[in-house]
């Protein structure tokens, strides 16, 4: 059974990897025969060369972006968590905050980022604020929904045991919300990197966003592609890391899944 599962995963990966390989080859061919001028669309080989050549500079800028991203993400997640808990605890508060919460997400980040720079200067503060604004929302909404979807029978049972509100939260609501918490965390993690880059476009002395603006202005598109791939890779690494953490934190998850698929087979 387990063997089969592993093989299935490998073959699934195989399909994904082959498509990427095919796309890369097509891209390389398109650049080689100059279907698109090479200065506009550099070939994969040139991009890799640029990446290798620029590696120290890229890493230097990466660390700045990563610090801003992780700091903003941390604040966003903590605030998102607290907000969800408060809104679940007090229905009135939930009704009051929800409209503002939705409104905050309709404001385009790119539009308010220059304002934030104006108010807070070119330092770390406006960047963290932008990232904070894009990361707390998924956490709050996902957590709040899971808290409120907790099984009322389960809550009744704990109440009958004499459980306090905190104990009900600790034993029922929070563990039940872990799955969607991680889902939200994955969304927020990739938002945080994108948010950091956008914030850096608008000003600053270092960071991947700043570097991107520089190479764009000097028409070094091979370098620009190298940055783009680095940003994607960074998001992927974060997602991968979060997956590993999730499996460590939720060891029971695989049994839940097994049970679900068994039930499906039966019905």
């Amino acid at each position: 059974m387990k063997q089969l599962f592993n093989n299935k995963r490998i073959s699934e990966r195989f399909y994904g990897i082959s498509l990427v390989a095919v796309l890369l080859i097509v891209w390389q061919v398109v650049s080689d025969i100059e279907l698109v001028p090479s200065f506009m669309l550099p070939s994969p080989v040139t991009v890799v060369k640029a990446f290798v050549k620029d590696f120290p500079v890229l890493m230097d800028n990466l660390s700045i972006t990563l610090i801003a991203g992780l700091l903003g993400l941390t604040f966003g997640v903590i605030a998102g968590f607290c907000l969800a808990v408060l809104m679940d605890y007090r229905t009135g508060l939930c009704k009051a905050i929800y409209p503002i919460l939705i409104f905050s997400q309709t404001v385009p980040t790119v539009a308010i980022a220059p304002l934030l720079v104006l108010w807070m200067g070119y330092g770390l503060a406006p960047k963290i604020t932008v990232i904070f604004l894009v990361t707390f929302f998924p956490v709050t909404v996902n957590l709040l929904e899971s808290f409120q979807a907790a099984d009322p029978d389960q809550i009744s049972l704990l109440q009958a045991m004499g459980a306090t509100k905190f104990q009900i939260f600790y034993y029922v609501k929070w563990p039940g919300a872990l799955d969607s918490f991680f889902a939200a965390l994955k969304v927020s993690a990739s938002y945080s990197i994108v948010g950091a880059v956008i914030a850096e476009w608008l000003g600053g002395s270092k960071g991947l966003g700043v570097y991107m603006t520089q190479v764009r202005k000097s028409f070094a598109y091979d370098k620009m592609f190298a940055v783009i791939f680095l940003i994607s890779a960074l998001s992927l690494v974060l997602l991968f890391g979060l997956n590993i953490i999730q499996n460590k934190v939720m060891p029971w998850k695989k049994f839940q899944l097994e049970e679900d698929t068994n039930n499906e087979k039966k019905s």
């Binding site: 009744s156 009958a160 045991m161 004499g162 034993y171 563990p175 839940q256």
Partner: protein
């Protein structure tokens, strides 16, 4: 044979000289102005099993929630061993239809949950739960997660958790209904045995008339709130112990009587 009259006499004799362990006195409850329970009275004696039968909407689960202290009654009081516990949680063991084991805790931690809720430490709770694991036939399952257990085993774990409430009275809301017929018979027989050994007194809700007659000392029929009548039937213990009880005419008599009360 007039079971009804005989039952009345039995009932009087039954209640006269005993002190109830749990007494439900004059409970009324309405939701949005619609009465669900009206002046309900019920006594549960030491070591007794009562089953509550009633059509949907007769307020069985509402009654349980009130007795367990989760809901407050509009009127009426509840006594446990002579002390009033109206509106207080944590006194009675409560078990619902679903096993409601928490998916993120191992079986050992799940069954020890009532102890944790009362403020005992993790080690203490585990040690205490571990002692009872063999008695409930859960040896080898301690470290597993609920997702790895069959329905019958999960229900056993839920019973052990209920027992670890450390209450002498258990409220069971359709505890057997989620099990398949074969598992059900086994778990029921096992429960009766455990109950006697642990000296638990039980009220349980069921939809199954056969199950009610087979398992309980007394069957209480809750009729829709408007009629405000309760009927009780005492099931003869000697008869119940007979192996062919369910095939006897007396069994059918009980069943007829209950059906009559239910359809009034």
């Amino acid at each position: 044979m007039n079971i009804y009259r005989e039952n009345k006499i039995l009932m009087d004799r039954y209640q006269s000289d005993k002190i109830p362990i749990l007494e439900i006195k004059g409970i009324s409850k309405a939701f949005d102005g619609k009465p669900i329970l009206r002046d309900l009275n019920l006594k549960l004696f030491q070591g007794e099993i009562i089953s509550l039968l009633g059509t949907s909407g007769s307020g069985k689960t509402t009654l349980f929630n009130i007795v367990a202290g989760i809901l407050k009654p509009d009127q009426g009081v509840i006594f446990l061993k002579g002390e009033e516990i109206t509106g207080e949680t944590g006194h009675l063991a409560y078990m619902l239809q679903k096993d409601l084991l928490l998916p993120h805790l191992t079986i050992l931690d799940n069954v020890g949950l009532p102890l944790r809720i009362r403020g005992k430490s993790k080690t203490e709770s585990r040690a205490e739960a571990l002692q009872l694991i063999p008695k409930f036939g859960l040896t080898g399952y301690e470290k597993l997660y609920p997702g790895q257990l069959s329905g019958g085993m999960a229900q056993r774990a839920a019973f052990l958790r209920t027992y670890l409430f450390h209450s002498e009275v258990a409220l069971l809301d359709e505890p057997f209904s989620a099990l398949d017929a074969l598992t059900k018979d086994k778990v029921q027989a096992w429960y009766i045995e455990m109950m006697q050994e642990l000296e638990l007194s039980t009220i349980f809700i069921t939809h199954d008339i056969d199950e009610a007659i087979r398992l309980s000392d007394r069957v209480v029929i809750l009729q829709p709130q408007t009629q405000n009548i309760q009927q009780q039937i005492i099931i003869d213990l000697q008869l119940r112990k007979q192996k062919d009880f369910t095939l006897r005419t007396e069994f059918l008599e009980y069943k007829k009587q209950i059906l009559k009360y239910l359809t009034v």
